[in-house]
């Protein structure tokens, strides 16, 4: 299982890359492996509000739907439209292919997330 240094990780297997006040959010390698072939990504719309630890969409594999849980609160500024036609990108490279970008309203929420080493250890126990 692959992790990337410098990202923040949630227990529900999303990652966050911070770019100023913008949080770029995706799913981890652990998540895409567990789900298998991803066939559909249900994303919010730009300007939608998201809240930390609440659902903001879902990733669907052939066999099941998995909720996407936002690691931070804020406003959606961008969605990755490439995933609408090619959701399998999340299987190919889950760290390169982000899902949404969020203008954070509470950057302090990042402190509750894990770093790459802690997350890797967390996945070991799953």
């Amino acid at each position: 299982m692959k992790t990337v240094e410098g990202l923040y990780y949630s227990e529900s297997h999303e990652w966050v890359k911070v770019d100023g006040e913008i949080a770029i959010i995706g799913i981890t390698d652990f998540a895409q492996k567990a789900m298998g072939d991803i066939v559909y990504v249900d994303m919010p719309e730009v300007d939608d509000e998201v809240s930390a630890e609440e659902e903001f969409g879902a990733v669907e594999s052939v066999k099941a739907a998995s909720d996407l849980i936002s690691p931070v609160s804020g406003t959606v500024t961008e969605i990755n439209e490439a995933l609408e036609d090619e959701s399998g990108l999340l299987n190919q490279d889950p760290y390169e292919n982000w899902i949404i970008k969020v203008q954070m309203s509470e950057p302090g929420e990042l402190d509750r997330l894990m770093d790459a080493d802690v997350y890797a250890a967390f996945c070991e126990r799953q």
Binding site: G36, E55, A58, K63, A65
Partner: protein, 365 residues
């Protein structure tokens, strides 16, 4: 996980690095490579499944025929030896104990009942409890049998050329024969659960392991339960616990053709007769979404803002790409062509009631 049973092919699945998951009390392979490829292998060439988790219950004795006809919805009196029937065992209220296959064996008054893994213990108890007054021997041999399903348009060629089972060529759909492979007895059955032509092999565990190795060696794609479900779903075959259950009768599920109410007696007959005359409040239908969303089991089906039923199984069909499901809905809304919607998380998506077969079967008659 330690309470889960392993099939005789467990080591083979581990060696192939299959993704394993609990199913029906067993730890089973869900996929080896990925569901899409395994699904297409079965539709286009051939794939094989470990279905050793299925239960094998033998019923024999002078009253075997009347006894099975008493607990089974189909009519086995018309069956010659070597023939197989599909049907259900019902509770008196018409709910389903299990759906199963009945094999009429060559030896007179001997039958094999093949039941769902999750229901083996429940079925055995049910069968024994119904047998009072019948002179029958009930022998649950589930842990002494392995089973492989070889499915797909190339299944016959593989059975004949790779396994040397020439008799496969002449075997009609839903018939079987006792034969030998590699010097060991096997039961060769032209049945399956994918909508494709194919065979199911029943034999002792060590024979099944050798058969698996031979098929792998010849390049047959190993397929997990993941695509077994997408395959059976596309051709509208029911799965116990989803389209049939103690709460869902075969009439509601549209399987009335397997319930022979012209038989004078069987458990559940009165309830089924009533359902046939009065109609059932619910009916199993197909729904095709006209918008992009995947309807999953348990999602509500709505019409004019009211909940009219729920999804029993749904996928983006691998063979057609369409977003489709089977759903149990209020009969008043069940006619083909009616506009309904399915609630997927926070939103509803438009759909149309359609046939619950989303892909045509390709059986060899």
């Amino acid at each position: 996980m330690e309470d889960l049973l392993k099939t005789c092919l467990y080591d083979r699945h581990e060696a192939l690095k299959a993704q394993m998951s609990p199913f029906g009390g067993f730890i089973m392979p869900i996929q080896y490579s990925n569901i899409l490829e395994e699904h297409q292998a079965v539709r286009q060439k051939a794939g094989m499944f470990d279905v050793s988790h299925m239960g094998e219950i033998f019923v024999s004795g002078p009253d075997a025929e009347p006894f099975i006809n008493h607990i089974f919805t189909n009519d086995i009196r018309v069956m010659p030896a070597g023939k197989i029937q599909y049907g259900m065992m019902l509770y008196p209220d018409g709910g389903v104990v299990d759906d199963l296959l009945v094999y009429k064996l060559a030896e007179p008054d001997h039958y094999l009942l093949v039941v769902n893994a999750a229901n083996i213990a429940k079925d055995e108890e049910w069968i024994r409890n119904q047998s009072t007054g019948y002179e029958v021997c009930i022998d649950n041999q589930s842990d002494r049998w392995g089973e492989i399903a070889l499915q797909g348009p190339e299944a016959e060629r593989i059975a004949v050329d790779v396994l040397g089972l020439g008799e496969a060529r002449d075997l009609a759909f839903y018939t079987f024969t006792d034969t030998a492979w590699n010097g060991a007895p096997i039961l060769l059955s032209r049945t399956g659960y994918t909508g494709e032509d194919g065979f199911e092999f029943y034999a002792a565990p060590e024979v099944i392991v050798a058969l698996w190795d031979k098929l792998i060696e010849s390049g047959v794609t190993p397929c997990g339960l993941g695509c077994r479900d997408t395959l059976r779903f596309e051709v509208g075959l029911p799965l116990y616990g989803h389209e049939l259950s103690a709460e869902i009768s075969p009439i509601e599920a549209g399987l009335g053709m397997f319930v022979k109410t012209d038989k004078e007696e069987f458990v559940g007959r009165d309830s089924i007769l009533r359902q046939k005359t009065e109609g059932t409040p619910r009916k199993l239908v197909g729904i095709e979404l006209t918008e992009k969303a995947i309807p999953r089991a348990g999602y509500p089906v709505e019409c004019d803002g009211e909940v009219i039923g729920e999804v029993t199984t749904g996928y983006q069909s691998i063979s057609t790409g369409k977003y489709v499901c089977m759903a149990l809905v209020n009969r008043a809304y069940a006619e083909t062509g009616r506009s309904v919607s399915v609630r997927v998380r926070k939103k509803t998506f438009a759909g149309v009631i359609c046939k619950k077969r989303f892909y045509d079967k390709n059986y060899k008659k």
